[in-house]
Symmetry: C2
Subunit: 366 residues, 2 copies
Amino acid sequence: MSKDKEISTQDTRSWLRLIRSEKVGPITFWQLLNRYGSAQHALDALTDHIQQGNHKYRLACEEDVEKELKAHQKKGFSLLTAFDPRFPQMLRSLPDCPPFISVYGQPDILNQPTLGIVGARNSSLNGRQFAERLATDLGKAGWKIASGLARGIDRYAHQGALATGTIAVIAGGVDVIYPPEHTDLYHAIAKTGAVISEMPLSLFPGASHFPRRNRLISGLSQGVIVIEAALKSGSLITARTALDQGRELFAVPGSPLDPRCKGANNLIRQGAGLVESAQDVLSMIEGPCVPCLRDEANKPYTPPLSLDWNTLETDVLLDLSPTPVSLDAIVQRHAVPPQTILTLMLEWELQGRIQRHPGNMVSRVY
Amino acid sequence: MSKDKEISTQDTRSWLRLIRSEKVGPITFWQLLNRYGSAQHALDALTDHIQQGNHKYRLACEEDVEKELKAHQKKGFSLLTAFDPRFPQMLRSLPDCPPFISVYGQPDILNQPTLGIVGARNSSLNGRQFAERLATDLGKAGWKIASGLARGIDRYAHQGALATGTIAVIAGGVDVIYPPEHTDLYHAIAKTGAVISEMPLSLFPGASHFPRRNRLISGLSQGVIVIEAALKSGSLITARTALDQGRELFAVPGSPLDPRCKGANNLIRQGAGLVESAQDVLSMIEGPCVPCLRDEANKPYTPPLSLDWNTLETDVLLDLSPTPVSLDAIVQRHAVPPQTILTLMLEWELQGRIQRHPGNMVSRVY
């Protein structure tokens, strides 16, 4: 990788500080980067903003950023920016591509053809056996297996694919083993595959982190296979992110009497490929689409979203008047992610061009 | 029912004798009836044919026909001809509509909206419970349930629908209870529903009778639901006849580890509606299509097949020459059922216009 494609050490620091700041998720991150040209400029703008009294944002502390970088080094984890050629190409196309991932294990596995396997934590013995066998068979056919290190189906999917390589995408920091009884599995995965996370080191995963993590399992994968998923389960969230991301979706059927199968059966009803064996998956999915690393690495990196900000600004400004209007209504009128509108509002608020009102309303200040 | 629509007692005898003759199945029956104008004329032609040395056909004995009619009366079974308004309208549209069915129980049920439920004899406890509940729920929703009185799924489908009415289509004679342990069920079905068969009384069912029977289960039904069917199972034959007959097809998914589910899962893969509850079926099928008995009964009965025999004769005769040709090749060239070509050949053989040769070949005699 040539030096000029690499972000500088200082850039790494400001990127990490920006993404670790409160209320800055991946989408906001890329929009701020796009809008202000660099993470440092975005941090400067946010600092101004905060000084003018907006306490919604709170920047990460520089010392914590320094600590996190050192801890990665000390523990032997890689911290890959989205610029890094070792960063998973499959994730780069996502609008909410994480700016960083922490990797424990072998980063090389992250750019190999991957299928996700997800399912119930309270899975049946049959479901587990099936997951393990499916992972082994797909592994032998050249696919890496991504899952979430959870109890049940996830565990057996990883286990079945240990020999050929598997990726555990975890919801907390990459150094936080959850559930703790998967400690041996966690280390075994890192030997031939990788454990990855977009979250800060030592973060213990809370309920909201799991759905967010799920988009990375499907994002890494060309297709996702759902085994034993109840209605309203986390696996169905992964199924939905898979569809949103244009990934193939497969599901393993099960008895209508078993509530753990209702979600998967429902996916089949809605068009997911019915899977009874690895062969079924292989016959339905196009051959592994290996990302062309070289080509991609030689191109300048383009942040996931690129907008004509001037046109958007003009359009959105027209929507505003001294009478407060709902931000939701503005978002609905424009074919851009809500975060984009919020970024604009942030800037205008900084510039004193708009005023916020209770109930998520805004008015224009002349 | 007006007298003139009814076939005469003598006609009943000749119909019954014709259909009970060797090598005369339903398709040949209707073709002979169409060709010769009446069953008696067809019997006369066959008699000539046999006297000229064709021993392929053997007419049923008149005494046996008499015995069968009397036995029906004695045992309280109805013998319905396809003319009878109580005969199931759904069967009339089939090219292989049986000319007669024997009915033990309530013939009225045969023209009510019906769904078929079929599945494995060696079904799981879950499969049985599911079949029973599904039959009960569909029964309450106004559907009669058709099945085959077999062990396993069939039994539980009948049982679940006893209160609302169920039809057992059996492979042997209507008085032959098979399997024998279903004797109580057999009589219970007849109380609120019907046991029917197209076969002669007292015939014990052989292997070949079951697939033939299956077409009547699907034929009677607007849709067929397959529960636990292995690959190459009888239930899949019923599924195929259902599709051939333009019936809706539904299947209940199951674990890929259970061989009893492979057939049903495969049907879903091929487009059968996925069923987890009666509600699923009801949402996928159009409301009961009740045959319009009155209208139909006032129309003169049209045998299932009606051909322009003169054109066909000319065409097929052109195919023949003094050099023997394969009958299969002739059948393939003409868009009519094989039995039609065979009926023509039978007639020409009677008239000495063709000669048969080994290997199913025929030549023209000038």
